[in-house]
């Protein structure tokens, strides 16, 4: 379980997150809804241990996450798969090389086992025939799917997705939703931040609203106005 305790984050003097108390369970889909600029991505990055909170603490399986250049969170990161909004893929590498990178760096797998895992990940996102392409040769939707494949290839316990369906066509969107559903069936914990209400309602077990820097559990029928109109 990941636990955020009293997390506050400032951006240019203003707090985007205020005293957030949140826990991410080991299974199921948790979804955070919020309008653009509400601090969803920051919250996701703090939860995944990438960004340090200005105040408060984060616990990963009961262990305090430390930050800074000398902090060594790499053991914790082995349990995390993160899909960035822009993909964050390495454009000097091919699709296959991008997906294989975390496995090769982690070590411990033979070349054959690595190949097999990469192939499985590509099949999951239905891009097995794009393996040799460079990232710049892919469409936005395909890049998103490659990013998902790269996040899943290490078989992490937690999958973090930042706006996974943003800017996707309906076919790619359906494919992403299907993949998320499969991860839930494999007992992974999936955390999504989005402003896509339909996505949240269709797959999330727990939906949270991020308004005015505060996180609230949404209950009942959620409307767009609940999180898009203005700060709480």
């Amino acid at each position: 379980m990941i636990l955020l305790e009293g997390v506050t984050k400032f951006y240019r003097g203003e707090s985007v997150l205020k005293d957030v108390l949140w826990s991410v369970p080991d299974q199921g889909v948790s979804c955070v809804l919020g309008r653009s600029g509400a601090g969803k991505t920051v919250l996701l990055k703090i939860t995944a241990g990438i960004v340090a909170p200005d105040l408060g603490r984060v616990f990963f399986d009961g262990k305090l996450v430390r930050y800074g250049r000398f902090a060594n969170n790499y053991e914790l990161m082995r349990d995390v798969g993160f899909v960035f909004q822009g993909g964050a893929l390495f454009d000097s590498l091919t699709v296959g090389e991008n997906i294989a990178l975390p496995l090769k760096e982690k070590g411990g797998l033979s070349n054959r086992a690595t190949e097999q895992r990469v192939q499985e990940a590509l099949q999951l996102v239905e891009l097995a025939n794009k393996r040799a392409l460079r990232i710049r040769e892919l469409s936005g939707g395909m890049s998103r799917l490659v990013a998902i494949a790269r996040a899943l290839v290490t078989q992490p316990r937690y999958l973090f997705l930042d706006e996974p369906t943003g800017g996707l066509d309906p076919v790619a969107r359906e494919r992403v939703i299907k993949i998320i559903g499969e991860q839930v069936r494999q007992n992974r914990s999936v955390v999504i931040v989005t402003h896509d209400l339909e996505l949240a309602q269709s797959i999330a077990g727990r939906v949270f609203l991020l308004r005015g820097g505060q996180l609230q559990l949404a209950e009942g029928n959620i409307k767009k106005e609940d999180y898009e109109s203005s700060d709480a």
């Binding site: 990055k45 995944a48 241990g49 990438i50 250049r69 000398f70 969170n73 790499y74 053991e75 990161m77 082995r78 995390v80 798969g81 993160f82 960035f84 822009g86 964050a88 893929l89 390495f90 990178l101 975390p102 090769k104 760096e105 982690k106 790269r150 996040a151 290490t154 973090f160």
Partner: protein, 263 residues
């Protein structure tokens, strides 16, 4: 008279603040260097990346260094001959050119050429990776970005700059030998001066300088790339700063090392 600025700070306060900022940056810079090159090194993964960077930062700079070496040789010979001919024996021209190339011009000019090429490129590349969240992505893949991105670049420059300096000195020396006859100094006299008054210490001192300059260029490029926050404008700014900082560090450490090695 004590001047007070609009912020309420005196000139002395501003000077102190500036000094503190510079000091903090220097400390931060050396911390960064420490993190990048600290043990343990995963040699199996690091060595291929160092080779790749040696090719990118070193081997592909060879034509530029050869070109620079030719003109360094030409200019040094012309100016040394202009200053010494008719005043001292002719072999002093060979000695002057040889020692100047090995002690000062070879290491410093090669370092400037490589700094202008590699430091901005590294800062821009790493800066772009920061902006596009690729460095965050490395962290989520349990990959240490300092080891993955900076260590190979810093090592590659530290290894390849001394080689490039030797190449520049060789090309400059050959060019000097080829043109010196046209200035009224026989080749034999020039080579005599070049070989009999140059010490091994001159050569190794220059190479040691090149090692330090390589380390400084690599570290400043990577450090300023990692400092990028924002967008394309910040990436451009980091690239410019990387060039400026590298050049200043080369000059400062050239003086420090000259004092240590040749005084």
């Amino acid at each position: 008279m004590v001047l007070v600025s609009a912020t309420g700070l005196t000139d002395r306060d501003s000077g102190l603040l500036f000094g503190m900022r510079v000091l903090l940056m220097v400390v931060d810079y050396f911390l960064f260097l420490g993190i990048c090159v600290s043990f343990p090194w995963d040699l199996r993964r690091t060595v291929p990346r160092v080779w790749e960077q040696i090719y990118r930062q070193g081997v592909s700079a060879v034509p530029l260094i050869v070109f620079a070496g030719m003109f360094v040789g030409l200019t040094t010979t012309l100016q040394t001959a202009y200053q010494l001919l008719g005043i001292v024996p002719n072999y002093f021209v060979g000695m002057g050119v040889g020692r100047m190339l090995l002690i000062e011009l070879g290491p410093v000019l090669a370092a400037f050429v490589i700094a202008s090429r590699s430091a901005p490129a590294m800062a821009a590349e790493i800066g772009m990776m920061r902006v596009s969240e690729q460095i965050d992505a490395l962290r989520t893949m349990a990959i240490n970005p300092y080891r993955f991105l900076c260590l190979p670049r810093i090592f590659a420059l530290t290894i390849s700059l001394p080689m490039l300096v030797m190449l520049l000195e060789l090309v400059a020396g050959i060019t000097a030998i080829l043109v010196v006859a046209r200035l009224g100094v026989s080749r034999e006299t020039f080579i005599y001066g070049m070989t009999h008054f140059v010490e091994l210490r001159d050569f190794f001192g220059g190479i040691l300088k090149a090692v330090v300059f390589g380390l400084l260029i690599g570290t400043s490029g990577c450090y300023l790339g990692f400092k990028v926050e924002g967008g394309a404008q910040d990436v451009g700014r980091a690239a410019t700063r990387a060039m400026v900082v590298s050049a200043i560090l080369i000059l400062v450490f050239d003086f420090v090392m000259a004092g240590l090695l040749f005084s």
